[in-house]
Amino acid sequence: MSTIASSNPPSTIPAYLTTTSIGKKVLMAVSGVIAFGFVCGHMLGNLQVFIGQDQMNHYAETLQNLGPMLWVIRLFLAAAFITHIWLGILLKLQNNAARPVGYKNETTQKASLASRTMIWTGLIILTFVAYHLLHYTARLTNPEYASLLDGQGRFDVYSMVIHGFSDWIISAVYIVGVGLLAYHLSHGVASMFQSLGLNSPAWQVRLNRIAWFFTILLFVGYASIPTAVLTGCLTLPGGGY
């Protein structure tokens, strides 16, 4: 029937990580953990907007003053992100190829909707991240932000955020974007432990709860900022937006 498939077991650590299904899943999980860590830290940073203009702009300035270190961090995150996306797409294509003929009558026993849509939530997150970088980091979509300065002559991140989210379309894009990110993590956070071998029947239940805890926490944390601007809870230093 089928021909004997010859295999080539890995022998070096890079080969262990890149040539087999488990190795690729490990890289997927590690890059996912890094992205997840960033997403949590970034949320805590952003929430300082609620403390006020001075705190927010001071925080942003501190990050800018990291100088070359900032670029080291950015490149590290970019490498993790690219690994994650590259392997995510590759594994998905391999998985589709592993079942060329599907079932006429397919049922799902316990796979969550989030787990079955990881590639799609992932790709939408990717587009969202690209827009977000153009919008607030490179400020190419709204070049007028670049001239915002606060009383101390610092770049006025605080006002930029309020101007940005005063447009309800932009706010809606952000809320949907972070919503899908949180949803991606409702499977991702539990899944990464299993991929790294850190799971047991008792922990499986806990991991699912932990994943949903972070899903809700991240969504509420991130979405609170555009919501606060739209509802008038966060205003420009002189009031209004």
Binding site: M1, S2, I4, A5, S6, S7, N8, P9, P10, I13, Y16, L17, T19, T20, S21, I22, G23, K24, K25, V26, L91, Q94, N95, A97, A98, R99, P100, V101, G102, Y103, K104, N105, E106, T107, T108, Q109, K110, A111, S112, S115, R116, M118, H187, A190, S191, Q194, S195, L196, G197, L198, N199, S200, P201, Q204
Partner: protein, 248 residues
């Protein structure tokens, strides 16, 4: 009871295949699913139609030869049950039942509902064994094994290698099967000598056969007739990472 069967028919590996509809009449609720198919096949033979081909052997739920995806679930929707042990009392008069082969690139259809699962044999040949080259049978109690490890190994060894995990997996991944086989040895003293080599070779062979990658959705665990837990996959992942850090 009377049933309407929608059955996958495929002449050979190269045929495109299609669903055919057959009536199953006067089926007793005491029959097993395979006995029901035997009755239908007798009727088909009388009508001059090629009988439906399907795999079976022990019909006791221990050999892992029977297969079939019944109404979208490998071995049917009954929990912890092989197709040969699935009784018709779980169906009702007038039901439509969809019967399809296990679907995976690594399990090509040979004929109708029979698929070639020799990929599993080749994975076992790659590392699913303990080498004992000579000597008599050792005394069973000569090597003390803590109860905890003995139980973990026995839980994993309950796998009958039927392939339902692959059939159920959204990615046609064989990780529950390979995880069970890796775990059953990794927990025991006898499995230590070839421990790293085993996981390396079995994972590489699994990939070479064209199985998909696990995405931790646990469909496999839900359908496994022996209720193998996905903890064996976590164990295999640990074994694999452990092997990566050792010279062998």
């Amino acid at each position: 009871m009377n049933l309407t069967l929608h059955v996958w028919r495929q002449k050979n590996a190269h045929d495109k295949g299609r669903m055919e509809v057959y009536q199953a009449r006067d089926i007793s609720e005491h029959m097993s699913f395979l006995e029901m198919l035997d009755v239908v096949n007798e009727q088909l033979v009388e009508q001059g139609i090629d009988p439906i081909h399907f795999d079976h052997d022990c019909r006791e739920g221990i050999c892992g030869t029977c297969s079939l995806v019944i109404n979208g679930a490998p071995h049917g929707h009954q929990k912890a049950t092989t197709t040969c042990q699935l009784h018709m009392r779980h169906f009702s008069d007038g039901d439509h039942i969809y019967i399809e082969p296990f679907r995976a690139k690594a399990f090509p259809v040979i004929k109708d509902l029979v698929v070639d699962r020799s990929a599993f044999d080749r994975i076992m040949q790659a590392g699913g064994f303990v080498s004992v080259n000579t000597g008599g049978i050792p005394d069973a109690n000569a090597i003390p094994i803590p109860k905890y490890f003995a139980e973990k190994a026995m839980d994993a060894a309950a796998c009958i290698g039927c392939g339902a995990c692959v059939a159920a997996c959204k990615n046609a991944s064989a990780m529950l099967f390979v995880g069970a086989k890796v775990s059953q040895f990794a927990h025991l003293p006898q499995g230590q000598v070839e421990r790293e080599r085993r996981v390396r070779a079995m994972v590489a062979q699994m990939d070479a056969e064209g199985f998909g990658n696990c995405t931790n959705q646990y469909e496999c665990e839900a359908v496994c007739p022996k209720e193998i837990s996905v903890e064996v996959i976590a164990k295999m992942n640990r074994e694999y990472l452990r092997a990566a850090t050792k010279k062998s």
